[in-house]
Amino acid sequence: MTKSVVNDFVIKLANVNGTGSSSANGLLMKSIFRMGVPVVGKNVFPSNIQGLPTWYEIRVTGEGYGARSGDVDIMVAMNANTYARDIAELRPGGVLIYDSTWPRQHVLSRSDVTVLGVPFAQMCNDAFAVARSRVLMKNMAYVGTVAALLDIDPDVIRGLVREMFVKKPKLIDLNMQAIALGYDYAKTNFECPLAMRVEPLDKTAGKIMIDGNTAAGLGCVYAGATVGAWYPITPSTSLMDAFKSWCEKFRIDPETGEHNYCIIQAEDELSAVGMVVGASWNGARSFTPTSGPGISLMSEFIGFAYYAEIPLVLFDVQRVGPSTGMPTRTQQCDVQLCAYASHGDTRHILLFPADPGECFTMAADAFDLAERYQAPVFVLSDIDIGMNDWMVDELTWDDARQPDRGKVLDVDQIKDLDKFYRYRDPDGDGVPYRTLPGTHPKGAYFTRGSGHNADGAYTENETEYQEVLDRLLRKWRGAAEHVPSPIVKSAKGGKARWGIIAYGSSDCAVLEACDTLAKDGLHLDYMRVRGFPFSDEIYDFVNAHDLVFVVEQNRDAQLRGLMMLETQIPRVKLESILHYSGEPLTSCFVHEHIKSCIRKEQSA
């Protein structure tokens, strides 16, 4: 009944929000990572501060896959309110760990799983006097139990606990004691380790575990951003929190206490983006992090920046809509909103990071693109990337890299001009020259969202108006070659009939599905799109296949829609695989849907 698996299983922890479980779950995951074994962690949490159910999933994957598998092998059921569904989720042969302080009849409802009761509450009530400690230490106790059952190295855990509480050393002993309670109980009462267990590997060297918002905030610092304006919204808040803490580390003059940055919490998103417009227009690298509802509010300004040609960097950490939707659940649902944000003819530059590593690099790229093209640039991540810790390659920075500040005339260049014309295209690439306020009297011009001609003067003349609008389109098209290019993973063994296109956080699930489909004899090429406007490679990729599956995490096939609008690709060549439950995509979902589509096609 128990399958013997080493380094290949999923632990799911069912908790109550606000009881301090997340640091315990993080500790568990990080211990496995420190043993050299790749892990995937997904936090599924409610839009609530305290009381509602929350889950944490840890996938132990010696193969180093990055997505959820779709299975649950071990369930740590700490929330009595969700016992029934948590137990139902366990695969046959799985292991259920629960708090046996109180009798629970229904834990016995399944005879095909191993049930292990540990009196966590009882042990903690006996050991700790303070009420809050009793609650918090239950979490640490189950970490101990799971560690014993999975053969996780206690020294690794001890080391991590010391790091966790480096600033509050008094808490080290307390937490160690709780971990020992759970650990010893398991060792005494159960056969340890289980058949499912962790064995040390060396597959995490050169890797880190980091969330995308932290990495994006760091990317902004490395890009030289100095002004950040924002209005709090889950799941983008931690991006500005991160930027702030990195700035406090790197951007405060130790002698004078002066700041080389300015973070403004705006009164709403309209104001946040307005501040970014003002700061960017005035020559500072500036950005705003937000989520879908914020983009909706910012739309008027986004169109203004597009037409008046002002660089903007916007991070949209996508969450489930429409409206407030499910604000703590993940989706890729703002692709079309961002692509065409604002009224009038507007088209924007989008970047699709697939993991926190790319949040770092694309954050830096976004500033270069925004200044090079004097236009809004959107970095579209999502809750899954933004708020979960992912295992990625260590971040590196090329010290020779200089920011691309675009075509900004300095004082000497302005002096040499007869007259400055803001919207002419002397280089033929659609990108005009700009000047910054305060530089030189000859550089002054009037920036307006109303009709203007190539000289920057007001116009309602049709030819003059169209000339600017057509140049804007040429400029935008030119960006196709400069956004990060698609990445193709070709199927083994020659020409594949089918292809897959995906982007962002769907990447890991698709990569794994390609492997598992290959085991079923189905070989597919995979292209990951990383930017918009689309380059010709995307068109060529689709043309080279009979059918291409477009995997996305939204209901309306938003990327497929964009592809049909923006390229000559025939509709019948694109088959959507859509996942929009709000939970991160699983490899199993991709595998099954593609397989059944192909089988249907083959039997037709």
């Binding site: 880190i208 575990m209 980091i210 610092v221 490395y222 890009a223 030289g224 100095t226 002004v227 304006a229 790197f250 951007r251 405060i252 206490g257 002066e258 700041h259 080389n260 940055y261 300015c262 403004i264 705006a266 009164e267 309209l270 104001s271 946040a272 983006v273 307005g274 501040m275 970014v276 417009v277 003002g278 700061a279 227009w281 005035n282 020559g283 500072a284 500036s286 300004f301 008046a308 260590e394 971040l395 920075w397 010290d399 000047t435 910054l436 306020p437 305060g438 030189h440 009297p441 000859k442 550089g443 002054a444 011009y445 009037f446 920036t447 307006r448 969202g449 109303s450 003067a457 007001y458």
Partner: protein, 351 residues
């Protein structure tokens, strides 16, 4: 934003300021507003104030929203960058621009529609932040550009051109500003340049957010009998309480004013704002008292003008954010990017 180039006139014997510039150097494009519009007088006063202060035109930044009033940033200071943003959102753009470079002089131009309806939130929050800028609210009681609808500053009982009577209570930018902690609050009338030009100068030199609510009649939609924002009505009911002017450090403060009622307020640059109380009862340093006076007199239909409240002791946004003295937009990149060695080190906690 229609504008035409003005014919350039050679002013040989024109008066020059300390920079050797003439008044002409502070002009803008030709206005396309209605002849007689109050906003044009305000633009002329702006140019005059900058000229008299000898501020280099290109070291000023003009920011506005949308409306007839907001168009006027094109009609003065040709050699300054200007930006006509979106309706009601000038304050946020000014805030961001001031964050990027605290070394320039920022002028925001807005209307009563732009500031008190669609943009009320941004207007309020720019005052809370004490952004270092002069905010000109050109107040005509109507939406000029969309042809005469009542704005939120229309008085109860004021009649529109079509005969409709406004019943909703007005929002007074002056008392609003006082209640939000603005540090320089003034009211003026576009028809009184003697009062307005010195006020603008004082507002430009004030460190922090300066508001001048300028009654600026709309001749096309709100200058008829029955309107409380007409020229005639304003001339009749406006009442100068406190005169204010800027006196540079170099100039001695002449005591031509009545000694008891003239009080200089020291400024960061060493100069002073000199206040002359025309109305002995008015105290522009006591926020509570000033607020009470303005409200009380408004109830009597009186329009109190001048520098109504001033507080030179508050930190502006740059100071509260501990911004470096060098503007953020001039920071060399190598001072901003921590480099790869730091990146490697900081990742220890993620390993």
């Amino acid at each position: 934003m229609t504008s035409f180039a003005k014919p350039s006139i050679n002013l040989k014997n024109a008066k020059r300021n300390a920079l050797g510039l003439t008044w002409h150097d502070y002009e803008g494009a030709m206005s396309t507003l209605c002849a007689g519009c109050g906003h044009d007088s305000v633009s002329a006063c702006m140019a005059k104030a900058f000229f008299e202060l000898s501020i280099e035109p290109h070291r000023a930044v003009k920011i506005s929203g949308i409306g007839c009033s907001s168009k006027t940033t094109a009609y003065f200071l040709n050699e300054a960058h200007g930006i006509n943003t979106v309706h009601g959102r000038m304050p946020s753009v000014a805030t961001g621009a001031a964050a990027a470079n605290s070394g320039l002089t920022y002028i925001g131009v807005s209307g009563d529609g732009d500031s008190l309806s669609i943009g009320m939130g941004q207007f309020a929050h720019a005052m809370r932040r004490n952004v270092n800028m002069l905010y000109m609210l050109e107040n005509n009681g109507v939406y000029g550009l969309t042809k005469g609808q009542f704005s939120a500053s229309a008085d109860v009982g004021s009649k529109s051109k079509k005969g409709e009577v406004n019943l909703a209570p007005p929002i007074d930018p002056v008392t609003l500003a006082m209640s939000l902690g603005a540090t320089f609050v003034a009211r003026a009338f576009s028809g009184d340049r003697e009062q307005l030009v010195p006020l603008i100068k004082a507002g430009l030199k004030h460190n922090g957010f300066g508001l001048i609510d300028v009654i600026s009649p709309c001749v096309s939609f709100n200058d008829h009998a029955g309107s409380t924002k007409s020229y005639a009505h304003t001339y009749k009911y406006y009442h100068k309480a406190v005169h204010a002017d800027y006196v540079p450090m170099s100039k001695e403060i002449k005591t031509s004013y009545d000694a008891g009622s003239s009080v200089p307020v020291k400024l960061h640059d060493g100069g002073s704002i000199v206040l002359r109380k025309i109305d002995e009862d008015y105290d522009p340093y006591d926020r509570g008292a000033a607020y009470a006076q303005v409200v009380e007199r408004a109830a009597k239909g009186e329009i109190v003008t001048g520098l109504l409240y001033v507080d030179e002791t508050q930190e502006d946004m740059a100071a509260t954010n501990k911004l470096a003295s060098r503007p953020l937009n001039t920071m060399p990149y190598d001072e901003l990017c921590p480099g790869n060695a730091e990146l490697t080190a900081l990742q220890n906690r993620y390993r």
